[in-house]
């Protein structure tokens, strides 16, 4: 049963071939047996899942259900879940039981989804390998010596290893797409403002977006439809009518204009990955798409701009973790400043501290104009680049990551190299655009991700293109050894 996609499971539940309770037990059993080697869950909520599954079965019996009712899901541990530990991968929140549900959690719960647990992640979503977690690194199911990507590495691992049919993730600079790519999955980061950030612990507020990690575009579309929508509790939420992202999946992509940004295919790209992307481009052409080269000249500025904006926002967003009201508090504080500095010094890990310090510096009097303001200007340049590109192309295609999954520990001592692994994904967050990653082939045993970038609120078109590609290919159907 775990081999089925989310859509297939939904149909099986519709046909009463299986109950939600039975389905939930299958996944809970797999988690119990297999997660020891992956470390993908921080918390497994078995009893809660069983109760929610029973409720889902009742709803289905009463005919009061939607397509997602009774399907298990795992939530990234960045989403607040009422009555359940919400750690954000940090010692700081190791003792934090959230008193409320994030909007995303609430919406999926209302759709009848069954929460299996909370997935491991880079501490406060700061990382590209899930190695900065207080709870230890997550392993990639395709190769246990390698990272699953990050920061939503736990969520990607869970879906790749078939420990859950789908999971939620968040993406500030690539944290949904890069782990999806490294684990052979389909993940979408929606347009900024599409998915409510309420209850999603903030890393960099102007860049953070939640989204689904699933096995196919079709599954992702169904999940995104349930997750998205205006939320009055998030002032940056887009006030637009609700959208059903599944309705245009089957549309023809005959004549779809695909732009290939020449800056994304140059130096630094692994040639084998380049070859995989090239053959995917040919596949899109066979489906009727028209491919042309485009230019995004300011792409090279995206990493420096991101590493000013994101740390600046995080330095302020993480100030609330001060040991006063909740979370980690140091022992025997001598005075209030000692309480602040030791609680934070002991509660945060090295990467989080590094980014808080970079951000504090960038916002300091005398440096603000040179760093923060300049970075904001670069953001505008990047947005303008994309704006011009979308006059020539409907969708932009490029690799998701410059390499396949790298080895555990390979980049942990070299933060800059680690930061460069987000080179293809970061500019999209700076511009607030939607983008998805889907599997397009392999280099050796390791999956390669392909990224499709859309114009603002162009999610449906991205999912449509990805779905048509997946109907013509089977990369998304491959499973890691021992998981299929």
């Amino acid at each position: 049963m775990h081999k089925n996609s989310l859509i297939q499971l939904s149909r099986a539940l519709d046909r009463r071939e299986i109950s939600s309770v039975e389905l939930t037990e299958i996944y809970l059993d797999r988690i119990a047996r297999m997660d020891g080697k992956y470390n993908s869950f921080i918390t497994v909520t078995a009893e809660l899942a069983r109760a929610q599954a029973r409720e889902a079965d009742q709803r289905r019996q009463a005919g009061n259900n939607g397509p997602l009712t009774g399907i298990p899901i795992a939530h990234k541990d960045i989403f607040c879940t009422r009555g359940v530990k919400t750690s954000c991968g940090s010692r700081m929140l190791d003792n934090f039981i959230a008193p409320y549900d994030a909007t995303v959690v609430e919406k999926l719960r209302r759709a009848g989804m069954v929460m299996l647990g909370k997935t491991n992640m880079d501490e406060f979503a700061m990382g590209s390998s899930t190695e900065t977690s207080f709870y230890g690194p997550v392993r990639n199911p395709w190769d246990l010596e390698r990272v699953p990507g990050g920061s939503s590495g736990g969520s990607a691992c869970v879906v790749a290893a078939r420990l859950a049919p789908a999971a939620t993730g968040t993406d500030t600079g690539g944290s949904i797409r890069q782990p999806a790519a490294l684990c052979g999955l389909t993940g979408i980061k929606p347009t900024y403002g599409t998915v409510s950030r309420y209850g999603m612990i903030a890393y960099a507020s102007s860049l953070d977006q939640g989204g689904p990690i699933a096995r196919s575009a079709e599954d992702a579309a169904l999940l995104l439809t349930a997750m998205a929508g205006f939320d009055a509790r998030d002032s940056t939420s887009a006030e637009r009518p609700a959208e059903d992202y599944s309705t245009h999946l089957e549309d023809s992509i005959e004549g779809l204009r695909i732009g290939l940004p020449r800056e994304f295919f140059g130096e630094g790209l692994d040639s084998q990955i380049g070859a995989v992307i090239e053959s995917a481009v040919k596949q899109f052409e066979r489906l009727g798409a028209v491919v042309a080269e485009i230019s995004l000249p300011n792409t090279r500025l995206s990493i420096p701009a991101y590493y000013v904006v994101a740390p600046a926002e995080c330095s302020s967003n993480l100030a609330r973790f001060d040991g006063v009201r909740y979370g980690y508090r140091c022992d025997d504080a001598a005075d209030i400043n000692d309480l602040f500095s030791r609680s934070r010094g002991e509660g945060f890990g090295a990467e989080v501290k590094r980014r808080i310090m970079i951000g504090t510096y960038a916002l300091s009097a005398g440096y603000y104009d040179a760093y923060y303001l300049k970075a904001q200007r670069i953001r505008r340049l990047i947005r303008d680049d994309f704006h011009r590109a979308f006059a020539e192309a409907d969708v932009i295609l490029c690799p998701t990551s410059p390499t396949v999954a790298f080895k555990l520990g390979e980049k942990t001592d070299d933060p800059v190299t680690m930061y460069l692994s987000d080179i293809y994904t970061i500019s999209i967050n700076l511009a607030g655009l939607p983008a998805l990653s889907l599997p397009a082939g392999f280099v050796g045993r390791l999956p390669v991700g392909l990224q499709l970038i859309g114009d603002h609120f162009g999610e449906a078109r991205l999912l449509n293109a990805a779905h048509r590609y997946q109907q013509a290919t089977d990369w998304h159907l491959r499973a890691p050894e021992g998981c299929g």
């Binding site: 934090f96 209850g199 509790r233 940056t236 001060d322 603000y368």
Partner: protein
């Protein structure tokens, strides 16, 4: 050397919204600690601020009232610093682009001349919580009920030149925010408080001296005393060859002095930046016009109208418009009296104020309503009672004896206006005092008052004084 003080005030007015500026929690004062703090006020992980539209409306109202530029687009910024009662580690405020730009108000200077005082800006921000150092034994407690309460920070230009002017300015703003009904003005509860920036410079010098900032002054009296103390301290310091350092000072009301709190060098770098959780605040012309339509008549306009419409002096008009409640009370009295403006003004400023002061009440608590007072004034005007009798009626009315007509009726206080009856009483008085009559006729005209008094006494104060005068004169001069 002659020194000139330079003073600017930063007034914090707590806006009278029902809920907080970025959350739905209530703002009522005096609740048990932390019972009016929701997840947003506690700064829980994942929560987000949502701007209270009512607070925006109130800020715009203030801006329009001081004829300021209203920013069509203003920006909320984070002011970052660590403090135990600051839950998020930053305060949401406005920094580079405030909602209210430059405006001004008029105050009366010491010499009675009108001074125009510039207001640099007014911006919206949230209040912090409170640390309680006595409530929990051996520990400090935090009460976050106040956290997130909306504040309007009103910043004046450094155009005030004395403590008296500073107080006049603060009183004017206090009156204005209460007129606008955007702040309850309760200074004891901290709803209206200010920081004062004070420096001195040699008379004639244009460059400002180094300033000290006195924090958290919550009464007019303290503002005056603290500024005067600080001016003298700086003059003494400079006079003895010392130097003023830029610093934050606290006013100790018990000792009547200011004390250093922290030096500028120890000040925080607040690392202001636009709050990414809140989009820039954009105001449409319709919204601003809608707020403008709700503006009440403002104190200055009301004062001028009272002068023109009711013929009041500038002094009386200013007194009657000092707060909205008094002005409303006065106008309602005029209406109830059938348009007797001057008489009404005298009674409101005289008997009513005196009685309220005696009992420590404000005008909204007056046992005599404008309708009752107007009824009394009406009876004075139509000569039913004299001014003297009216005081007796007023006392009875104050003690709940009913309206003027009822009291006049039951106590038999109706003025005697029957000419024949008054003439008869006069005749009796003249016959009873023949020597005074002959003295008067020989030219001692001051005796007229004596005769009036005697007649009044005979009538138990009820005879109409004008009539007494007229008939007396006639009888004395034409025997």
């Amino acid at each position: 050397m002659d020194w000139e003080p330079v003073i600017g005030l930063e007034i914090h007015a707590q806006l009278a919204t029902r809920s907080k500026i970025f959350s739905g929690a209530a703002t009522a004062y005096g609740a048990l600690p932390n019972t009016q703090a929701c997840g947003v006020d506690l700064g829980l992980p994942g929560v987000l601020p949502v701007l209270n539209k009512e607070a925006v409306r109130m800020a715009v109202k203030f801006g329009l009232a001081i004829h300021a530029d209203i920013s069509r687009r203003s920006v909320f910024a984070r002011k970052n610093y660590f403090y135990p009662d600051l839950p998020k580690g930053y305060q949401i405020s406005q920094y580079e682009i405030p909602i209210v730009g430059r405006g001004s108000i008029e105050i009366e200077g010491e010499n009675g001349a009108v001074m125009r005082i510039g207001i640099t800006r007014a911006h919206l921000e949230e209040d912090a919580g409170k640390s309680l150092h006595e409530a929990v034994h051996g520990m400090s407690g935090i009460d976050l009920n106040r956290a997130g309460t909306p504040l309007l920070e009103i910043v004046s230009e450094p155009e005030l030149r004395s403590a008296k002017q500073a107080v006049a300015y603060m009183k004017k703003i206090h009156s204005l925010v209460r007129y606008l009904e955007i702040c309850d003005g309760n200074m004891q509860e901290g709803s209206f408080r200010c920081d004062a920036n004070v420096s001195v410079r040699p008379q004639g010098q244009t460059k400002f001296g180094t300033r000290a900032e006195i924090k958290n002054l919550n009464s007019f009296r303290f503002v005056e005393r603290a500024i005067n103390y600080e001016i003298q301290r700086q003059i003494d310091l400079l006079g003895s060859g010392g130097r003023v350092v830029q610093e934050t000072r606290l006013y100790d009301a018990e000792r009547g002095e200011t004390r250093s709190m922290r030096l500028k060098e120890e000040a925080n770098d607040y690392r202001y930046f636009p709050d990414p959780d809140l989009l820039p605040l954009e105001l449409s012309e319709e919204f601003i016009a809608g707020v403008e339509a709700t503006l009440p008549e403002l104190p200055d306009a009301k004062k001028h109208r009272f002068m023109a419409e009711f013929g009041l002096s500038a002094y009386d008009a200013a007194l009657l418009t000092a707060n909205r409640e008094t002005a409303d009370y006065f106008e309602a009295t005029v209406t109830a009296s059938g348009g007797q403006a001057k008489l009404s003004a005298n009674w409101v400023m005289g008997e009513v104020m005196a009685a309220l002061n005696r009992e420590g009440k404000d005008i909204t608590q007056s046992p005599i309503s404008p309708t009752l007072l107007g009824g009394l004034v009406r009876r004075i005007a139509d000569n039913t009672i004299s001014g003297k009798i009216a005081k007796e009626v007023f006392e009875a009315m104050w003690n709940g004896a009913g309206d003027a007509d009822t009291i006049i009726g039951t106590k038999g206080l109706k003025q005697v206006t029957d000419t024949a009856a008054i003439a008869a009483m006069i005749e009796e008085v003249l016959q009873g005092n023949p020597s005074q009559v002959s003295q008067y006729r020989q030219g001692k005209e001051q005796l007229l008052a004596f005769f009036v008094g005697q007649v009044m006494k005979k009538s138990k104060g009820k005879a109409n004084p004008q009539q007494i005068n007229a008939i007396l004169k006639q009888k004395l001069e034409n025997p």
